[in-house]
């Protein structure tokens, strides 16, 4: 069978359509497999007591022995404390830098470096961030190299560029006319930036913070070198604390069946946390764009 030129072109077009469709399937299969595995295996251990009890002792089933499942309460506590502290360090710094970058870029050319810095910094491998915080503390505060404080500093370096970038973008979506209106009313420039521009862009700022927390929540590599591996809950800023990503890493790579079960449960809890934060950030972003459309 032979095709003429126009038939050949149409066949090519159909073929391309089919292949790109297959590509979508190829993208979704492994990704759905990952989530499916976590939902099925993690779902089988998830319960209220899983969220509120301590991790079990290592155990593999033998005849006459049933292994306890226990839970991940200290790791949930630790992750929440680490994320809270990391937000405390990175959010004010990031928002301040973003205000400078968006409100003063006309007067100070140097302000434009901030956006570029944030972009570049968000590409720094998270393990390198761990090495960095470790190195700084070895130099200046050797007694807290492995501590909650140290871990929170590492996570804050991960969060900083995301908070800065998203806030700057949000501030720039506020129309110039809003600033001019405020200034024309005789409101001081700094009050305009803080009480008018920042408040108008607030949903965008919240989006950035949520995205940054979502990203930091799943990071194990920087914690490995700063907070270290502990299974305890919070006992002090200068002491180590458990964290969900580290618990998954340690338990997943162990030969104990009950630890692997717990790791799946923790993976599911972590996925749900991150997805909830992502969905929430999308909702706040939509709120920002609705607000801007009215202007």
């Amino acid at each position: 069978m032979t095709f003429d030129r126009s038939q050949r072109r149409r066949v090519w077009s159909l073929l391309a359509k089919g292949l790109t469709g297959l590509a979508v399937v190829a993208v979704l299969i492994p990704l759905i497999a990952v989530i499916g595995e976590a939902v099925v295996l993690g779902g089988s251990v998830l319960s209220w007591s899983f969220l509120t009890s301590n991790p079990p002792l290592p155990c593999s089933p033998r005849p006459g022995v049933t292994c306890p499942t226990g839970g991940i309460a200290p790791a949930i506590e630790g992750t929440l404390i680490l994320l809270g502290l990391a937000s405390l360090w990175s959010v004010p710094l990031g928002i301040g830098a973003a205000i400078f970058a968006s409100e003063y870029s006309d007067r100070f050319r140097a302000a434009r470096i901030v956006g570029l810095t944030a972009d570049v910094m968000s590409g720094v491998p998270s393990i390198v961030v761990g090495v960095f915080v470790y190195s700084v503390l070895v130099l200046y505060a050797p007694s807290i190299v492995f501590s909650t404080l140290s871990g929170s500093l590492a996570l804050s370096v991960i969060m900083l560029p995301i908070v800065t970038r998203t806030t700057e973008t949000a501030l720039r979506t506020v129309p110039r006319s809003v600033r001019e209106a405020a200034l024309a009313l005789g409101i001081a420039r700094w009050k305009t930036s803080l009480r008018v521009v920042l408040v108008t862009a607030l949903p965008g700022v919240v989006t950035g913070i949520l995205l940054a927390i979502a990203r930091a929540a799943g990071e194990a590599a920087p914690l490995l070198l700063t907070d270290g591996g502990s299974f305890r809950g919070f006992v002090g800023l200068d002491q180590q604390v458990a964290a969900m990503p580290i618990l998954i890493f340690t338990f997943a790579d162990s030969p104990y069946q009950n630890w692997i079960r717990v790791a799946w449960g923790a993976a599911l809890v972590l996925i749900l946390l991150v997805l909830a934060l992502s969905v929430l950030s999308r909702l706040t972003l939509e709120r920002l764009s609705r607000r801007m459309r009215g202007m």
Binding site: K17, V27, A97, I113, S126, L139, I260
Partner: protein, 306 residues
């Protein structure tokens, strides 16, 4: 209230300097902490093929650079065609009601922590590779030399596969955005000339979105090079230059994750920090390049929308 303005500019200026300072400090502190190996080995660090902890104390980064580049490039080899294909389907062929949900699904998947991908790789993919896929590859393609040796599943090939799954959401999302930014007039002109759907994509859309696609690949590469936990769990962690895709290896990131806590002494610690510095400089260069492409690809867009 001039002082109020000055104070506010001063404070926000300081925070801005703080953010830039963190990036500068990253490079400076790593270089300072790695000073003993920088002085002792100099450039030899980059060309030495062994990593021998104390008492021998010889450190070279070659095996890990090879491991890092092999896994990342192989991962991209798999993820680039798949991601670009998927992005083309989502923007050009998918019915409108399907576009948004599929796009959002892929973006949400980009948010899944890498440790979860590594865990899945270890528990699901490693046995699959070990008992089914790798023996078959060895039987039919062993003659190429790429698939020789005993397949145990914990190897360079499995690490590359896990990395490809992880880079796909990044590359797909950015490619989709840059294709979506191609002006409709560009497509309409091609349709008006009688182009088929594929010809519109091939000749009118893709060339226009090229800068964005290159940037997408660059950012995906940056993610793959620095990925730590997922790789550490499945690559087998042996300090050697891999001689086939079935051999155990180590990337710079997995080396640091594995050795840091059990370093044999201050010199190995310094060598590990220097390895981190090398990784940082590589990823900074690639990210800067990708960002430059992304920024440049926006220029014609701004003019064309008018």
């Amino acid at each position: 209230m001039v002082w109020g303005n000055r104070l506010f500019a001063g404070i926000t200026g300081l925070t801005a300097a703080g953010v830039v300072g963190v990036l500068v400090a990253l490079v400076a502190v790593l270089a300072y902490t790695a000073r003993s190996t920088l002085e002792r080995f100099g450039l030899r660090f980059l060309f030495t093929t062994v990593w021998e902890p104390a008492p021998l104390n010889v450190y070279g980064i070659v095996p890990f650079v090879v491991g890092t580049l092999t896994t990342s490039l192989l991962a991209l080899l798999i993820s680039i065609p798949v991601s670009i294909g998927a992005a083309i389907f989502i923007t050009q062929h998918a019915p409108p009601w399907l576009r948004l949900p599929v796009g959002q699904l892929i973006e949400l998947l980009a948010a899944i922590p890498s440790i979860v991908f590594g865990f899945w790789g270890l528990i699901v993919l490693v046995p699959l590779m070990r008992y089914h896929i790798e023996p078959a590859l060895g039987r039919y393609l062993g003659w190429t030399g790429l698939f020789s040796g005993t397949p145990i599943g914990l190897d360079v090939l499995t690490a590359s596969l896990v990395l490809s799954v992880m880079t796909i959401p990044t590359i797909t999302a950015i490619t989709r955005d840059s294709i979506a930014a191609v002006p409709t007039s560009q497509k309409e002109a091609a349709i008006g000339l009688g182009a088929t759907e594929w010809e519109v994509t091939r000749r009118a859309v893709l060339p226009y979105a090229r800068g964005g696609i290159v940037a997408a690949v660059g950012l995906g590469l940056g993610r793959a090079l620095g990925e730590t936990m997922a790789v550490t769990l499945v690559i087998g962690n042996r300090n050697q230059i891999p001689d086939s895709l079935f051999s155990q290896g180590q990337t710079i990131a997995s080396l640091i994750a594995n050795q840091f806590a059990e370093a044999s002494g201050p010199l190995e610690l310094s060598a590990l920090v220097e390895a981190g510095l090398v990784l940082l400089l590589i990823t900074l260069a690639i990210n800067l390049g990708a960002r430059a492409f992304l920024a440049r690809s926006k220029v014609p867009r701004a003019g064309d929308d008018a």
